[in-house]
C-alpha cells in the first residue's frame, strides 16, 4: 500500500471575491502519479500551486482549510516556505531555465543551500541529469548556456534542477503542453521512472497523457473536485456524469 504524503482538507481559495477553489479534500500517495484534469479555469493549476504555497506570491489571495505535509499544515504560521519548496519542487508549463550554463542550472539549488564539495555537486548534477533523461544529450556541453537547448531539453534540465535538491514531492504544471510530441514522450517515460522514488502530481490538459502515465486522476470543474479515483476507473467507468461528459469530449 502506498503511503499518504500530501493531503488537503476542505481547501478554499479566493482571488479577492472570486472563489477559485470550493472546498477541495483529497490525498496524494507515494510512488504514484496523480493527474489533475479539467477544462481551463477549473482551478486545477491553482490547486497545484497551493500545495507548495506558490499562490502566496499573488496579491489578494485568501486561503482557508488545511494542506497536510510531513505531519504539519503547510499554511501554519511557522512554516518556512523556503524549506517547504525545497521538499515540494515544481516544474512549470514554460521551461524556465536560468540564463546560466546547464551545469550551473542544476547545481544552483545546491550551491545556494551552501554545498561546497565540488565532487559531491558534480555527482549530484550527473545523477539528476540522468534521472531527468537528458544526461546523454548534454554530458559533453555542460558549460553551454541552458537557453541554447531546445524547449524539450530545457524542460528536462528544469526537472533535473528540481531533482538535484532531493524533494519528496514534484509538482508539474502542464509540463509538456509547450513541447512537441517526441519531447513530451520522453518526459512521460521519465516521469514513470521517477515515480519509483517520488510523489508526483501533474496538471495536464492532455487526457491521453493522464490516462497513459497516471495512477490516479482527479477531475476538476468550476473550482470543485468532481471525482478522484484510479485512473483506469475514471477513464472507463466514472461515477459522475460530468466526468464522463468531459473525458468523452462532450464539453471542455
Amino acid at each position: 500500500m502506498n503511503e499518504q504524503i500530501v493531503s488537503t482538507e476542505n481547501v478554499h481559495l479566493y482571488y479577492g471575491d472570486f472563489e477559485a477553489l470550493k472546498g477541495i479534500s483529497m490525498e496524494f500517495y507515494d510512488n504514484q502519479i496523480t493527474a489533475l484534469i479539467g477544462p481551463s479555469g477549473c482551478g486545477k493549476s491553482t490547486y497545484l500551486r497551493l500545495i507548495n504555497r506558490m499562490n502566496d506570491l499573488i496579491p489578494g489571495v485568501k486561503i482557508t482549510g488545511k494542506v497536510n505535509y510531513d505531519g504539519k499544515n503547510v499554511y501554519d504560521e511557522g512554516t518556512d516556505t523556503v524549506e517547504l519548496r525545497k521538499k515540494i519542487g515544481m516544474v512549470f508549463q514554460q521551461p524556465n531555465p536560468f540564463p546560466f550554463s546547464i551545469y550551473e542550472n542544476v547545481a544552483y539549488g545546491l550551491k545556494i543551500a551552501g554545498m561546497k564539495d565540488k565532487n559531491k555537486i558534480d555527482e549530484i548534477v550527473e545523477r539528476s541529469l540522468r534521472k531527468a533523461a537528458i544526461w546523454n544529450e548534454v554530458k559533453d556541453k555542460l558549460d553551454e548556456n541552458a537557453l541554447a537547448l531546445s524547449g524539450g531539453q530545457q524542460q528536462r534540465v528544469c526537472i533535473a534542477r528540481v531533482l538535484a535538491i532531493e524533494p519528496d514531492v514534484i509538482l508539474l504544471d502542464e509540463p509538456t503542453s509547450a513541447l512537441d510530441p517526441i519531447s513530451s514522450g520522453k518526459i512521460e517515460r521519465m516521469l514513470e521512472e521517477l515515480k519509483k522514488e517520488y510523489t508526483i502530481i501533474i496538471v495536464t490538459h492532455n487526457m491521453q497523457q493522464a490516462s497513459r502515465i497516471s495512477d490516479r486522476t482527479a477531475f476538476f470543474l468550476d473550482g470543485n473536485l468532481i471525482e478522484v479515483d484510479d485512473t483506469r476507473k475514471i477513464f472507463t467507468n466514472p461515477e459522475k456524469k460530468e466526468t464522463e461528459d468531459y473525458i468523452s469530449g462532450r464539453f471542455g
Binding site: 496579491p59 523556503v82 519548496r85 512549470f92 524556465n96 545556494i112 553551454e144 537557453l147 528544469c158 535538491i165
Partner: protein, 294 residues
C-alpha cells in the same frame, strides 16, 4: 483614396519626419566636429586653460568631468539600484508606490538649473560643502537618480516572472531570487542604463555652475594627498567641468582664442558622449549575447 495609396503616403511622411531628425543630428555633429577637431593638438589635451592668452588647453576640465562622473555614478548607482529593486520586486501596488513613481517622474522633469540652484542652497550653503566636486556630485545625483532608477526598474521588470517563480520554487528566498537570478539576468539592461546616464552627466552644465563651481584650480597630477587643494583626488576643491568651461568661455571668456577653445572642447564633449552611447550599445549587446547564447 485607396488604402494602399494612403499607406504609401503615411510611410513617406514618416520617412520624412525621421529624416528631419537624422538631418538635424547630422548637421549639428558635422558642424561641431568640423569646427572643433582642427583645434585638437597635444597642447590642447595636456595644458591647463589660460585666462588671457592664446593657446590654453582643457586637461583640468576634462579630468574634472571624468572625476565628477565617476563620483556621481558611485553615489547614484547604489541608491537607484536599491530603489529600483524595491519598486520592481517588493513594493505592493498601492497608492503610496504610485505616489513614489509619480515623484520620480516629476523629479526627472525638473530643469537642471533648478536642480543646480537647489544644490547650491542645500549642499554649498546649508551643508557648508562650498563649491566642490562633492556638491556637484550630489546635485548630479539628484539630476541622475530618477532616470537611472527608471531604467534599472524597467530592466528588472523585463525579466519574465517565470524566472522569479523558478527561483522561488527551487527554495530560494525572495532576496536570493533577486540577487542571484534577476539581477544577473537584468545586468545587460542595467549596464546600458548606467552608461547612457553617464552621457547625460558628462554633458551636464547647468546643475554644476552653482555647485561644482566655475573655477578650475591648477592641479598637480603627482600629488595624491586627497586633502591637498592641488590634488586631483581632492573632492572638496572647486572643479569646473568641460561643459561648464564651454558655457563660461562663451559667456565671459577673456582669452583671444575663446571661440576656438570652445569649439574644440565641444567636439571633445560630443565625442565622449557619443562613445558612451556606442559603448552602452556594444556592451549591452555583448552581455545579452553571452547570457542568452543566442
Amino acid at each position: 483614396m485607396t488604402p494602399k495609396k494612403a499607406d504609401k503616403i503615411a510611410v513617406n511622411v514618416l520617412y520624412g519626419l525621421s529624416g528631419i531628425i537624422v538631418l538635424i543630428l547630422a548637421s549639428l555633429l558635422t558642424y561641431i566636429l568640423v569646427r572643433g577637431v582642427p583645434q585638437f593638438s597635444i597642447e590642447f589635451f595636456t595644458q591647463p586653460a589660460k585666462t588671457f592668452e592664446v593657446g590654453g588647453g582643457i586637461i583640468i576640465q576634462l579630468y574634472n568631468s571624468f572625476y565628477l562622473l565617476l563620483l556621481t555614478l558611485l553615489i547614484s548607482t547604489p541608491v537607484a539600484m536599491g530603489a529600483a529593486i524595491y519598486l520592481s520586486v517588493y513594493a505592493p501596488q498601492n497608492s503610496f508606490t504610485t505616489f513614489v513613481r509619480t515623484a520620480i517622474e516629476v523629479l526627472s522633469s525638473l530643469p537642471s538649473i533648478v536642480v543646480g540652484l537647489f544644490g547650491f542652497l542645500m549642499f554649498v550653503v546649508q551643508f557648508k560643502l562650498g563649491f566642490s566636486i562633492l556638491s556637484g556630485a550630489l546635485a548630479l545625483m539628484i539630476f541622475n537618480l530618477p532616470l537611472l532608477t527608471r531604467t534599472i526598474e524597467d530592466s528588472l521588470t523585463a525579466i519574465p516572472s517565470s524566472q522569479r517563480e523558478g527561483g522561488l520554487a527551487l527554495g530560494l528566498s525572495k532576496w536570493e531570487t533577486v540577487t542571484r537570478i534577476i539581477l544577473p539576468a537584468a545586468m545587460p539592461g542595467i549596464i546600458t542604463g548606467v552608461i547612457l546616464s553617464a552621457g547625460r552627466i558628462f554633458g551636464e552644465a547647468a546643475a554644476l555652475i552653482y555647485t561644482a563651481g566655475q573655477s578650475a584650480p591648477a592641479l598637480d597630477f603627482t600629488n595624491w594627498n586627497p586633502m591637498s587643494i592641488t590634488s586631483p583626488l581632492n573632492i572638496m576643491r572647486p572643479a569646473e567641468t568641460l561643459a561648464v568651461h564651454i558655457w563660461k568661455i562663451n559667456s565671459e571668456g577673456l582669452m583671444p582664442d575663446g571661440p576656438d577653445v570652445s569649439a574644440g572642447a565641444s567636439a571633445v564633449l560630443i565625442l565622449a558622449v557619443l562613445s558612451f552611447n556606442l559603448l552602452a550599445r556594444y556592451l549591452g549587446k555583448k552581455i545579452q549575447k553571452k547570457i542568452t547564447s543566442a
